[in-house]
């Protein structure tokens, strides 16, 4: 195969896996094109789809609430207890943990839903867009500052960024380093989720592309593709868990700097 053809293939893959929704064209498109499924190929639309789904789910859970939870309410309770016992309590302790619980529940289920919806054919993965994950990381940064102020007052900010018991001349240096590490943690969270989601989709798409390129000869690749798809289902859960766990660890380190 010639180099030009290869370049075309790589550009084709990139074009189909990375949808850049955010330009005016992408926003205007739904209003004058009728084919509805085309909408779901835009990450910005998918964010709202996930939001609407979550609101509907929350409404359904609220409706099915009884004194002894059963059905949907029991599922929701198991989920919240899982987040509380596995993620929030080990990092915050009971008192502060109770107040940050709802934030981490929201974070986990939003990432999980957008990862899973992205695996349905024709739907785009909202978390496979760097803008969405950067937004999530920004929310994490803001939330950790709010949690620090809420727990210790405005002095907590100083305690979170400058460890106590330092010589006077060392304090600004340490403060600067702590701020840098705070920002780089958020950046690492952004890139981890984005790269994992995008890489999985590129792999699946490339495997399917082999079939398109070589025809019947590449049919056995289908098996590998299905294997990758199942692995991506696992990765969707794992990455939602890792994002929530790491952000709770980082936030817990800021709220309780002495631990």
């Amino acid at each position: 195969m010639s180099t030009g053809n290869q370049e075309a293939v790589s550009q084709f893959i990139n074009h189909h896996v990375m949808h850049h929704a955010g330009s005016l064209d992408a926003w205007n498109l739904p209003f004058y094109r009728i084919d509805a499924l085309e909408w779901f190929r835009y990450d910005s639309v998918m964010v709202f789809v996930v939001g609407a789904l979550l609101i509907a789910a929350a409404w359904a859970v609220r409706r099915s609430r009884t004194v002894i939870p059963k059905g949907l309410a029991a599922v929701a309770e198991a989920y919240v207890v899982f987040i509380r016992d596995q993620i929030v309590r080990p990092n915050f302790g009971d008192h502060v943990g109770h107040r940050t619980l709802s934030f981490f529940c929201t974070l986990f289920i939003f990432i999980l839903f957008s990862n899973l919806l992205g695996l349905i054919p024709l739907f785009s993965t909202a978390t496979g867009n760097v803008n969405v994950t950067a937004g999530l990381a920004t929310i994490f940064m803001a939330a950790s500052l709010v949690a620090v102020v809420h727990a210790h007052g405005w002095r907590g900010i100083k305690a979170a960024f400058v460890p106590g018991g330092l010589p006077v001349w060392l304090a600004p240096v340490m403060g600067f380093m702590e701020v840098v590490s705070f920002v780089s943690r958020a950046f690492a969270l952004t890139m981890r989720l984005f790269c994992n989601m995008l890489a999985g989709h590129i792999v699946i798409y490339s495997l399917l592309g082999l079939i398109a390129m070589f025809g019947l000869m590449a049919t056995p690749v289908m098996v590998v593709t299905i294997g990758m798809y199942v692995f991506e289902l696992f990765v969707a859960f794992l990455q939602a868990y890792v994002f929530t766990l790491l952000s709770s660890i980082f936030m817990g380190m800021m709220v309780n700097p002495e631990h």
Binding site: T3, A188, M191, C195, N196, A199, L238, V242, L245, L246
Partner: protein, 72 residues
């Protein structure tokens, strides 16, 4: 047939990143499993710590992979 040098280096870089990441995550999982076998009672804590370590390595590897992808 001329292959641009940038593509070759990007592909080689991706391979090297994969080797390094596999070594790192393999090490983490090997030690984690060993510790779990020795002390099954602290398995949940170990598993969490293992996943965190693997996630850090994975994140670093993915930074490099994205650079390879962008240049390739």
């Amino acid at each position: 047939m001329m292959i641009p040098l940038a593509e070759v280096s990007a592909a080689l870089g991706a391979g090297i990143v994969m080797i390094a990441a596999a070594l790192g995550i393999g090490g983490v999982c090997a030690v984690g499993l060993q510790c779990m076998a020795r002390q099954p009672e602290i398995q949940p804590k170990l598993q969490t710590a293992m996943i965190i370590g693997a996630a850090f390595i994975e994140g670093a590897a993915l930074f490099a992979l994205v650079i390879c992808l962008m240049k390739g």
